[in-house]
Structures are given as structure tokens and as C-alpha cells.
Amino acid sequence: MSETRQDKIIRVDMTDGQILVEPMPEPWRKLGGRALSARILFEECDPTCDPLGPGNILVLAPGVLAGTSAPTSGRLSVGGKSPLTGGIKEANVGGNPGQDLMKLGYRVVIVTGQSADSEARFALEIDAEGVRVKSVNEHRRKWNYALIEDLKEVYSKTTSFISIGPAGELKLAGASVACTDADQERHPARHAGRGGLGAVMGAKGLKYVSVDPGRSPVRKPVEAKDWNALSKKFSREFINGPGKEPFPKWGTSVLVEEADSIYTLPYKNRVECRSPDVQTLDGMRIVESFETRGGGMHNCLKGCIVRCSNVVMDEHGEYKTSGLEFETLALLGSNCGLAHWEDVADLDRLCDDVGLDTIETGAAIAVYMDAGEMEWGDAAGAKALLHEIAEGTEVGREIGNGAAAVGRARKHHRVPVVKGQAIPAWDPRPIKSVGVTYCTSPMGADHTAGLVVELGQPHEEAVATSQDAQIMNAVVDSSGFCQFLMPNLDEVRTFYSYFLGEEISRDEIAEQGWQCLEDEWAFNRAAGLGDVDDLMPDCMKEDEIGPQKLVWDVLPELVEKIYTKPAVFRDELFSMRPS
């Protein structure tokens, strides 16, 4: 019998600290991660609620396969109504808490309510003994790294943590939720960054969650023999194929030069999409630093075979940050006119420490610079702004609330956001399909909701590609698999089949992805989002880039075709891989 039959869920009401541990409801049994979060929010959260009020729900949902021996399968979905977009949000994150929750048999943590005392701070402790809420006012306003250092003194070596920094406590719309790395140092370097879910956690007074699986074993599949054979075959093919390079070798940071070459490296608030500083920003300089400073590549969660996360050291060979990604180098680097990766590494560390989304924060600083408030490339000024965010000064709150907030405050015209959320590095002008994703994804401008880096596509084809990618990514972000493992839907459903001991058909897995999107779109409509929220900002239609003078020119009536469910799911959907 499937182990999922004994699974449990945790409900925590922060209004009175009441905890309920219940059996996993049968209708949710095959759901995990993003799809489970969407279903819970659709069924239990009033879409019109104040995102920072007691009516919002914070969901912590590992993927279906988290805690198993499947490779790179332990990711966690953090969900809630976003204070940034006003719609539903799921941010997918690595680190070990997802694995650890599932090893304990907890499929989801549902946090409701709000403490009457806005200055009170609480922790949620989850281990083999049970689940507890406790007061932790002594940790108020602590930065993530200092917090985790203190917690490591108190909790066992097998404990992982989910936490917020001062940005979350200040309820800023750019605040992230941090998860600790798998290695023994447990740096809080993995972030559910997008959508301001750190603010939702902060509004509930929840400073951290500790998860100690102790000696809990990995979750066992029903069809163990087939499962093991599939897992080995899949891992071998990945390692000998796409896993050979570039990510395990260098990480995503080396995409800087590549993105620059195809006009999708944002420069100075996206007025250009190539940077003259590409060589000093590119991640190969980070890779070169490994030889003299130490550091290198590692896996962020146990059982990962992708190993795309870099560990970056300073000039003295001391740890500075980890998981310094392409998106961060683009948004906090070239987009702000910064020239050197080292400065971006400092900003990345500050964002992780204060608890901020690097994409949103980079975009916000770029709008601030573009409005004439700071010189382009002023690295010291940018770092000072991050300290202001942590201190909660007026300008700090403005930046910490994201790019749209800065645009409003400075009355600036060039604000590259969709649904209030900053556009990531992958630019919609050369890559039409990702533009369609930014316009129509329930998540707002979020490349992880459906990215296919294909240029030169006819617009009709770009819409179809985006639809497929959005379905596929909804499934992958529900499975626990990392997108960088690049599983296609046939592979995901085969893993599901062997794990659950029942055949999962092509139609069933595709329906699961589509239903996730339907739940999220329905939530957004009920929250008040409409057609006007699906529009690309004017700057993307007016600012031309590259020799082809590309602008966003896909017609809204074409874009909205994404909402029509295909009569039959295309074959391409099942062979497509996340990128």
C-alpha cells in the first residue's frame, strides 16, 4: 500500500497558537507543492483578503516526491496571497526543509490567523516528537545568517530551517522566505524569493520553522524494484547528458555572457539588453576565483545530482554567499549598471541576510537609479540601500516594496513589471513565449512559471509554447523535482506511478498541471485581477533593443488564447523539458 495513506497535514492558527495534525485528505493525495498550495488557497482562502491580514494563509508544501530517493526531488513550495501582485503566489525553493518535512510524513503546513501582538515573534518546531509553537521574541529583527547561527547552537545537527529576515518582519512586498542549505553549515541561502511571501510569514509573526527529521527514513515507493531501476536510469542519463555541463560544472552564473549575446541581459533598467561589463560580471570569473579563494559547486538539498549552486568566497578565503545565480547577476548587476560580480556577490549576501528577492530588489534599485536618485553603477550606494531596507527607513521601505512601489513614489515612467512584479532577466522582447508567460501566468512576471528560450518564433507559436511550458512547470513545481533536473512529463508521471503504485496516464498528469493553473486563475479573478493586469508595461512596447529593434508586439487578443484549454494536449507537451 502507498505510504501516502499515512500522511498527515499540519494546521497552525497563529491567532491562538492552536495546532491540529490531521490525516492528508484523500482528494489531495496526489497533489504536492504548487498544485497542493493552489488547491488549498482556492478552497480555504478568501481571495479578497488583505495579504498581510489574518485572512491570508501561508502554505508550506513539499512536492509529491520529496523525501524519496528520486534524484533532486525535495523542493518546497511556499504559497499564499501575494502582497506584491494581489493574486495567488507560489515560490519554489531548494534547501532541505522540503525533504525533512516529508520524511516525517507531513505533506503540508497550513498557517492561518495572526497574532494580536504585531511585535510578538514565534517559531514553529516540527520533529519526530510532534509540532509546537513557541515564543521567540529574542530573535526579533535578526538577519537570517545571525539567526541560523544562533539556532544551530540550540537545535540538533539534523535540523533544517525556514526563516525570514527583517524585510519579512517589516512586511515588505519584496521579502523572501529563506531555507537552509543541505550541508552542515546550513547557510540560509535558498530563497522562495518571488511575490513577497516573506511578508506574509512576517505578518503572521512567524520568524522561523525548524524541521528535524532525526533518523526518519526516506519515503518508500510501492513498486520499489521498478522505482529503483527508473531512478538509476534517469540519473545516469542526466549525468551523461544535460548534466555534463554547464550547470554542475559552473552553475547558472555563467549564463551572463550567453544571455548578453542574444540580447536578454537587462542593462540600466532594460533600456538596453547587452552590458559593456559582461566579462567582469560573467560567472566564469566566479569559477576562476575557486582556484585562489576556495569555494566551488555543491548541492543545495540532499540527493541532488544537478549541483548547480556555487559557494562564493571573499578575497580572504572566507565564505561570502552561495547560490549566486544568473538572475541575480543580471538584475542586481547589469540592470543597475554595476560592472563587477564581486559587488553583486555582496548584494546577494545582503539580500539573503535581510530576506529579500534579488530579482525584485535589483529591479527596484534600477528604477530608483533610472529616476535619477542614484548614479548608475553605484555599488556602495546600492549596498547602503539594502541596509536602509533592514532598518526600515522611508527609502528602505520604498525599495523593499519592489519596483512598482519605487515607480509610484518617484513618479517614474519606466517600470518593467507585470501584475506589480518585476520582469526577470529573460526579456520578452526577443523571447516572445516568455513574454506571454509574464502576461498570463497567475504568478505575474516569473520566468520559472514557463520559460522556453526560443527566439524568432511566430507569435501564434509563442503562445502555444508558453501554454505548454506553463502546464509543464506547474507539474514539475508540484512534483518536488528541480526544474534544472529537466524531467519531462512522461518521466514525472512514471515516477508518480511507481511511487503511488497506480498508473498515472498522460492525460492525468497534464490535467493536474492545467487544473493547478485553473485554480490559480480562478483565485486571481476572485481577487479582482482582470484583463488590464495581463498587459505588458509601455516601456516594453516602446524601448527598442538590438539591431532588429525588438519591442513587445504580441497582440493582447492573441495572448489571451492561453486561457483556452486545448481539446487535446499536444505531443510536444510530454517531451518538453524545463529550461
Binding site: P246, W250, H447, F484, P578, S579
Partner: protein
């Protein structure tokens, strides 16, 4: 004529064209011939030192080629595939 397959990421310069038939007798000549039709293509594939860029792999009929030597003979039915790594980040 041999065929050069263009990866999705580099179809900006080929304006969406996915494969190009060229008159050429070596892999190098195939890439040069695409460059003539679609200027800007070659610099996406090969760096200034003449090596295949770090995100690119070249295949001839499915067999991976060296990153530095493309002076490999091609026949009329051969397929040169330009393959790029993952994106994301």
C-alpha cells in the same frame, strides 16, 4: 546539401528559421555559409579564439565534435547540429 540545425536560442538571428541547407564540404564551411545568410550567427557559436563557446556543443550526425577542430568533411546528407545548454537561473 548538408543541413545545419539552428538551436532555439539562436533563432533570433535566423528570424525563426530552424535549419539551413548549405553548399559546403566541411563543418567549418557549413557554419561560415550560415553566417553569410544570417550575419551574427557565427559569433554566437564560436568565440574570438576560434573555439566553440562554453554553452555550445557541435554534433555531426549525432556524434559530438571537438571544441577546436571543425575541419571535418561533410557529405550531402549530413546533419550538423548546434546544441546549446540549459537556461534558467
Amino acid at each position: 546539401m548538408p543541413k545545419v540545425e539552428i538551436p532555439p536560442r539562436y533563432r533570433g538571428v535566423t528570424v525563426g528559421v530552424k535549419e539551413v541547407r548549405v553548399e559546403a564540404e566541411t563543418v567549418q564551411a557549413c557554419l561560415d555559409a550560415v553566417e553569410v545568410v544570417y550575419p551574427g550567427f557565427l559569433e554566437l557559436v564560436v568565440d574570438s579564439a576560434g573555439e566553440v563557446r562554453k554553452f555550445v556543443r557541435l554534433f555531426l550526425n549525432g556524434e559530438e565534435l571537438s571544441r577546436t577542430t571543425f575541419d571535418v568533411r561533410v557529405d550531402s546528407d549530413d546533419v550538423v547540429s548546434v546544441v546549446t545548454g540549459a537556461a534558467g537561473g
